[in-house]
Subunit: 341 residues, 2 copies
């Protein structure tokens, strides 16, 4: 497993071509996923090993990508730790009782391994089924999870979250420490069950200034990432070009880069780190000639880094045509003249 | 009028303190606004001079800000030019027939001055009523307007827009040239009627990479801004720290900066330009001591630029307490020990 193309690229080894997978490759853009999910609420599907295995496998079978990404949702560990959270279709995660005061804090108890027996079972079954294809584990980063807990749901401006971190830094740090422990346990369970790499996903980090990220977020993401030594760590936040070195400093073997920053420039900002990215997911809707040129450009720019994992610059959009992603996989896998692994 | 504190700061003159106004100071956060708007659709309110004058004046009376911002909406000139667009509450602008092919292009006709008689009338009345307080004119930038036209409404990922610009650059440039002419006329009408400065607002520019902005957007924003020589030009896009020099290059006496980038760093990126910003609008919900420290920091960092216009780093959030904005105005106006021009 440790000799997979993915792990070698993550470790900064020279590979004949970049491994390729897509954030959100499992999910809404696939008709076989939509069929399977009919009548099953999102969080239920994440708690049923049979569904997690099938959904995680769907894009592996369809595309022949070089890695599977564990199908889950960033709020799954919160729910498993007793938070009353549901995913409302068309809205996103909705938290029944937001956490905004010191009195709310005890409601956020630690995650026990037994709470996520279904994760252990799902990962174990997946590793068997995947064979030589590596499985990437997955967790939301403390800032992004805390934003859902404080706002009570998705938020465009994160105003309560930002007001809390600045107005009561002690409470903020206690909240983030608790969230970080939950994310850490969630990742460790996946690693222990056989995940070959992990990705810590900080969807909303780009809403912060560099100094706020450094002061209020970095220590907590670092507390998760520094404990992970046995598998490569991919650390990704959208819109974080301005503080990419802090994303690396928090702990990363691979720094995820969105589509806004060319990989050669990213390589200058985080020297010595492997990079992941960064095709604009919107451009998957453009003409094939445009996509081909972008893929080639990104592969060329990725050579500036010690290792490159080809991916989109953010998750697959629901409107994406799976045949186009299949074409992207073919093009990346044809680069370097061999199919890798 | 030309000796107003705002215009002097925009021109890069040393001022005793920064002038202060807020993007979206007129509108949803004010109870007097919500009362006035009861039963009146958004775009109707923008087309009625009595309402435009009253809504524009409300924050000037309440806060004593150093500038009024013309109350309008970025789609007003599109509607005046015959586009079937409405603002749906809770959604945003919805375009009945999106523009996606060459055959759609002729539907976007030029804006004639007679189409916006209500703008001329509103600005004229406002300039009288405002006295020595300058009025800032306002238009949406071509990329942001085009995104609404192509997507048919607000879009998180702008995928059709990005696909179009890459897949059919000729059509894209023709579309943006048409939109730019409309924005240009809309601004010229406001200047001719007495606006003391203008702001070109590119809400969505931050969704683009630097190279896409440079190739597909900059020439069109520049075509608007280079024609404006009689009043200062403020050019602002959210999340544009990575290509701030291009925002300046497109044409700007004042570069607007969101909350993510400290003004002293912004000043290094666009030397010689005045700056506008950049209090995080979310932090207006924090404790007063936090707000005061942020205001003082921003005023201090703003001294790195030749001129500084104090503002938020994006528009006033609907949940903002007007009393807090009043406090911010007081604090900025007390800086330098005098209440300015």
């Amino acid at each position: 497993m440790n000799s997979s193309l993915l792990v070698r690229a993550c470790r900064g080894e020279l590979t004949e071509r970049p491994p390729v997978w897509f954030m959100r490759q499992a999910g809404r853009s696939l008709p076989e996923y939509r069929k399977l999910r009919e009548g099953v609420p999102m969080l239920e599907s994440c708690q049923r090993p049979d569904m997690v295995v099938e959904i995680t496998m769907q894009p592996v079978r369809r595309y022949g990508v070089d890695a599977a990404i564990f199908f889950s949702d960033i709020v799954v560990p919160l729910k498993a730790a007793g938070v009353d959270v549901e995913i409302q279709p068309g809205v996103g995660p909705v938290v029944a009782e937001p956490i905004r005061t010191r009195a709310d804090l005890p409601r956020l108890r630690p995650l026990e391994r037994d709470d996520v027996w279904f994760i252990t079972e799902s990962v174990g079954a997946l590793v068997q089924e995947l064979g030589t294809t590596p499985l990437i584990g997955f967790a939301g980063a403390p800032f992004t999870l805390a934003s859902y807990l404080v706002e009570g749901g998705p938020s465009r401006h994160h105003e309560r979250t930002k007001a809390l971190m600045h107005s009561d830094p002690d409470l903020w740090h206690e909240l983030l420490a608790r969230v970080a422990r939950i994310s850490s346990t969630f990742l460790q369970v996946q690693i222990d069950a056989g995940a070959s790499a992990i990705q810590l996903f900080d969807s909303w980090a780009g809403a912060l200034s560099r100094s706020d990220y450094e002061r209020f977020v970095l220590p907590h993401s670092a507390s998760i990432l520094r404990e992970i030594t046995s598998v490569p760590r991919i650390h990704f936040g959208v819109g974080t070009a301005e503080f990419l070195p802090l994303i690396a400093e928090a702990g990363a073997d691979v720094v995820g880069v969105d589509w806004r920053l060319p990989l050669d420039e990213a390589a200058r900002r985080v020297p010595g780190k492997a990079l992941q990215g960064n095709l604009d997911p919107a451009l998957v809707l453009a003409d094939t000639s445009v996509i081909d040129a972008e893929v080639d450009r990104i592969i060329a720019e990725g050579r500036s880094a010690p290792g490159h994992v080809f991916n989109l610059g953010h998750g697959v959009l629901p409107s994406t045509d799976p045949d186009v992603l299949a074409h992207v996989v073919d093009r990346v896998q044809a680069a370097g003249g061999d199919s890798g692994a």
